[in-house]
């Protein structure tokens, strides 16, 4: 595979996807410290939002340590070269949140929907596109659940609504490199040449780096990762590892590999409440195709109702649950506890 000289934009997820393993408790000071170090290391794009996107503060997903507005305001004003993005899931956040984030100084907005439901993003993508110089991204989650042809139809809808860039998102960390290659390659062939294409991986099957390289080889030019893999499930593609691999392959990211390693080791790992790794439950997410941020909810319900967290996750997979259905987990655990006669 010769990717010598290929340029890609790496996008860090620690301060958004990383909110999941931190139960949304990353402080404003931590966000500022980490993002300044990332800026210094040459990471070009950094996402800062509640784990479930703008407006995610809720009983259902967790109340964060600070408001999105506070995080974004504090971080945006400290950036020298890096740009800041925010995530928004229609059905959770609204265009009012989007306008707020723009006022805070973001330069990229990412609108996320389940892979087959792109049409719910029309209102938000259209509005985002109308704002001058706002990089507008459509983000299709749980992309393993539909085949490449159907997925590309949905990506094209987002392109039509105004996205400059569209993403194939492996929210469950289920995909294997061939799954990524087929989807990215077809998307690249069918989308407009000027539309950027991205891949967001999770490391639940330890495929984060391999999948991201496969995506780059098949035509993606934006890759999400997070330093030390701080993200939902077994984490995102470990960014410092990905950057080191890119260095060896001659892929240009513009990121200082050693500085990236140092931030991961010295800043991110000490922030972790638990080691983000491929444990039994995280592996089950990838194996069964379950949304990565269900991990801690399943562990908590398993403990509360004396159940196996793996059994809960497998059942969530069988029911084909989608991103955002965290409320289903306690409901399901109650059903399972009743069925086994312990409630």
């Amino acid at each position: 595979m010769d990717l010598q000289g290929k340029k890609i934009t790496v996008h860090d997820m620690c301060l958004r996807d990383g909110m999941h393993p931190k139960r949304h408790q990353i402080t404003v000071d931590e966000m500022v410290t980490v993002s300044k170090a990332m800026d210094e290391a040459g990471i070009p794009l950094i996402e800062v939002t509640h784990g479930d996107g703008l407006g995610g503060a809720s009983v259902n997903y967790g109340f964060p340590a600070a408001k999105d507005e506070e995080y974004l305001t504090a971080v945006c004003k400290e950036m020298k070269n890096a740009r800041i993005s925010a995530l928004l899931l229609p059905g959770i956040g609204t265009v009012d949140h989007l306008k707020m984030a723009v006022d805070c100084g973001i330069s990229t907005i990412r609108i996320a929907t389940h892979c087959s439901e792109a049409d719910v993003s029309q209102q938000h993508l259209t509005m985002a596109r109308s704002i001058d110089n706002l990089d507008t991204v459509g983000f299709l989650m749980m992309a393993h659940m539909i085949e490449a042809e159907e997925l590309v139809e949905q990506l094209k809808l987002m392109e039509d609504f105004g996205a400059h860039c569209v993403y194939i998102t492996d929210s469950a960390g289920y995909m294997l490199p061939d799954d990524v290659t087929s989807r990215i390659a077809l998307a690249r062939a069918e989308l407009k040449p000027e539309t950027e294409l991205g891949f967001h991986g999770h490391h639940n099957m330890a495929m984060g780096v391999a999948n991201s390289i496969a995506a780059a080889a098949a035509g993606a030019n934006r890759i999400d990762g997070s330093l030390a893999g701080l993200g939902a499930g077994a984490g995102n593609t470990p960014l410092e590892v990905f950057v080191a691999v890119c260095d060896r392959m001659g892929i240009e990211t513009g990121i200082d590999t050693f500085k990236a390693m140092d931030i991961a080791e010295d800043l991110i790992v000490p922030m972790m409440d638990h080691l983000v790794r491929v444990d039994r439950d995280a592996l089950t997410l990838g194996y069964a195709g379950v949304y990565s941020s269900f991990l801690l909810f399943a562990k908590r319900s398993a403990e509360k109702y004396n159940l196996s967290s793996r059994d809960i996750l497998l059942e969530l997979g069988r029911r084909r649950t989608v991103g955002g259905q965290e409320d289903m987990i306690e409901d399901l655990a109650l059903d399972m506890a009743k069925a086994q006669g312990t409630l």
Binding site: P90, E117, Q123, G324, D327, L334
Partner: protein, 302 residues
């Protein structure tokens, strides 16, 4: 003298057609008009076959003979964007408007919570909030009638097949209007609404979660009884409204998990989200009709 009040349905789509089938069984409502904008639409054709007067000219097509035909109640099952104009026109002809769109220009109405208030105030336009609101606000109210709720949050999960193009294009209206309904009608100090669309096959039955954060420690027995009572109230017009789990108490959090199965009149049974809208709209119209038949309320042109 007729013992039924004549009604018109504006919007012959899935909601309008389901509403028509339900209204035909009503003891006090007689649906006589179906108003559309496309002569070829299956809903208009079906309504004509069922003996209703129809027009493809929008509300304008009905206005000239509306009073002559005795229409006193109209249902709007179109979209938030055209609702205000529709409402103004039919109000001028002296008909009450039951708004099934999220336009929310009239007071909110969630039948087991405040139907009596809405009717006794003789509002000429009432709004049915949203499908998620109809499914969950009764349960928020079941908690707030026991004690103060500082925060009410609902998560509505609907099948992809039951979320029509209107809902999809205007998903922000759903979250905003539902959140406001949780406050105004449900009685929570702050409201939050989340909607999830799930494409699984076979389609999932509408499920909803209601989380309330109480000001003081929750009175478990009183809340549990209040929730059971409220479920029975809603079951009077939506028999498939079922408590799945809860109320679960965790500190000051009260969580209630329900499922809403529809009657399957025109819409499939899994689309409980749409069924509860049409059932609540009809329930509201019937209450108005009873007031009119008893001579306690005479709708007037505004």
């Amino acid at each position: 003298m007729s013992s039924k009040i004549k009604a018109a349905i504006i919007g012959p789509g899935n909601i309008g057609t389901d509403l028509l089938l339900k209204a035909q069984r009503s003891k006090v409502i007689d649906p006589v008009w179906m108003v559309g904008i496309d002569a070829a639409s299956p809903g208009l054709v079906r309504a004509a076959q069922l003996g209703l007067k129809t027009t493809a000219e929008g509300v304008e097509g009905m206005l000239p003979t509306m009073q002559e035909d005795g229409v006193q109640i109209c249902f709007d099952a179109t979209s938030a964007y055209v609702h205000a104009e529709n409402s103004r026109k039919v109000n001028e002809q002296g008909a009450v408007m039951i708004d099934l769109t999220p336009a929310a220009i009239g007071p909110f109405c969630v039948p087991p919570v405040n139907l009596v208030d809405a009717v006794t105030q003789s509002a000429m336009n009432v709004n049915m909030v949203t499908c998620g609101g109809q499914a969950t606000i009764p349960l928020v109210a079941a908690v707030t009638r026991v004690q103060e709720v500082v925060y009410g949050e609902i998560v509505a999960t609907v099948s992809s097949k039951s979320a029509g193009p209107g809902t999809r294009k205007n998903i922000d209206e759903f979250t905003r209007t539902t959140a406001k309904g949780i406050e105004v009608c449900g009685g929570a100090h702050t409201g939050k609404a989340i909607i999830i669309i799930n494409p699984a096959e076979p389609p999932l039955i509408m499920r909803d979660t209601v989380h309330c954060l109480t000001q003081e420690d929750p009175n478990r027995d009183a809340i549990t009884q209040s929730v059971y009572d409220m479920i029975q109230e809603v079951q009077k017009y939506v028999p498939g409204y079922t408590l799945k789990n809860g109320p679960v108490f965790d500190g000051k959090r009260v969580s209630i998990y329900i499922e809403v199965e529809g009657l399957g009149d025109f819409l499939p049974k899994y689309a409980g989200n749409l069924d509860i809208m049409t059932a609540a709209g009809l329930r509201t119209a019937e209450m108005y009709a009873e007031e009119m038949l008893a001579g306690r309320f005479l709708p007037r042109a505004e």
